[in-house]
Amino acid sequence: MKLIKQIIDDLLTPMLEDFWKVPLWIRWALVVVTCAATIPLAVIYRARHSVNEKPRIHIIQNMDNQPKSVAQDGSEWFNDGRIMRPKIEGTVARGDMAGDTHFFMGIEHDEWATTFPTTVSVDKAFVERGQDRFNIYCTPCHGATGYGDGLIHVRAMTLVETGANGTSWVAPKNLHESLIKEQPVGQLFNTITNGVRTMAAYASQIPTEDRWAIVAYIKALQFSQDADPELVDGSASFPQKNTQGGDE
């Protein structure tokens, strides 16, 4: 305690007295400089706690951007400004040759194929793959169980009611309708590949084999929704099957 008092008396007090004798403009300059020094800190704090729409500050370039092009990049080489070249009409890319009409089109002897192509093996893993893919690409509209009650459908119906921006909507089909149940696998495959009426084609989003997997899963799904309860252990205690859901 004594020491601290001594330091204050002998050192700080005279310094403070001196300080008040410093010309006013210097004292003001000190205040301004100190305040200014907090500005970078404030800017940094803000930058770390907010999002920013302006281009990044990129001071040291290294070899970060090289004169090469990467996927989906722009390019000054081509008139249309894109580096990924669209297919040239009349050409077939490697692997795109649809020689096997059964596998690529679901057509066998000029009719919808009724069996799966020999290039795929329909087993549990295949059907599970189909389930996975169905849940990604089909559930938004057809719903997880295929009754045509997906979230997009539900939202679209409310948009139709309010007439937002000219929305019109054809309900996705209930995949458990007898007409669709009777369709051969080749026709289902074709629906996914090329679309049908208002439903878009999914060939560009889903590889061929996965499309067959989805078909296998749809068949399993249809079977499961119309299965003989006797086939399942303890089925007597199950709740009744849901036959509502989805519009016709």
């Binding site: 999002v51 970060d64 090289q66 989906q72 996975d132 938004p140 997009i152 679209a156 929305t167």
Partner: protein
């Protein structure tokens, strides 16, 4: 000796202690500004460029529950996670909001066949090699590297994407891997305790025989 000599006023005695204080704090100050100001946390995280269409992940991936792979469909097969082509949007928007002003560039693109010019958000230096399929198929979810995209109105960069960040996971992957089936379930695991998450991660590291490499040639090839 008649000339009056200039004498420093008494207050200049303060110069010495003042210099001591400035000398001590200035380097510290500069160090802080450089360390924080130039870190990718400040410069890169939160980068959110304006897009030609006000596309909302919060709406599409969050509320409407569309799986990431419906649009970014190459993410499991290739290095690059493709930004969806116009046709993918038109699967729905041919019928939904066909007269929306916000979607004007989409319909223009559909008619002319010219792509929409989306602005890149994430951008690694081109000397670094990154591969989506290597991560996604081994159970590293989008959320580990992109944050909760399904709650973002506009996507922004959530992580630094610096080498230190890549390595922090390659060195300690336990809390970051999961069942490869759940990679697009961004909300999975947020209610887990740290230990449970780690045990789960260890399980999947084991099942899929994962051992993320720290060799320079993994990422600089």
């Amino acid at each position: 000796m008649s000339q009056q000599r200039f004498t420093f006023p008494q207050w200049t005695n303060l110069a010495l202690p003042a210099m001591a204080i400035v000398g001590a704090t200035a380097p510290l100050y500069v160090a802080i500004v450089v360390a924080y100001g130039f870190s990718p946390d400040t410069l890169d995280v939160g980068h959110m460029p304006e897009q030609p269409i006000p596309f909302s992940h919060k709406l599409h991936a969050g509320e409407l529950g569309i799986d990431c792979r419906y649009c970014h469909n190459t993410v499991e097969y290739t290095q690059h996670a493709a930004i969806p082509p116009t046709e993918t949007c038109m699967n729905c928007h041919a019928q939904i909001h066909p007269q929306s002003e916000k979607l004007e560039p989409l319909f223009e693109s559909y008619e002319t066949g010219m792509p929409i010019e989306w602005v890149r958000v994430h951008d690694l230096p081109q000397y670094a090699y990154f591969n989506h399929s290597a991560h996604v198929n081994r159970g590293v979810s989008c959320v580990e590297c992109h944050g909760r995209v399904d709650t973002m109105e506009v996507v922004y960069q959530h992580e630094t994407l610096s080498m230190g960040w890549c390595l922090s996971c390659h060195r300690n992957p336990e809390p970051h891997v999961r069942d490869p089936k759940l990679i697009t379930q961004l909300e999975w695991g947020i209610d887990m305790s740290e230990e449970d998450r780690k045990i789960e991660g260890e399980h999947w590291l084991d099942v899929n025989h994962l051992n993320p490499s720290q060799d320079c040639s993994t990422c600089h090839r």
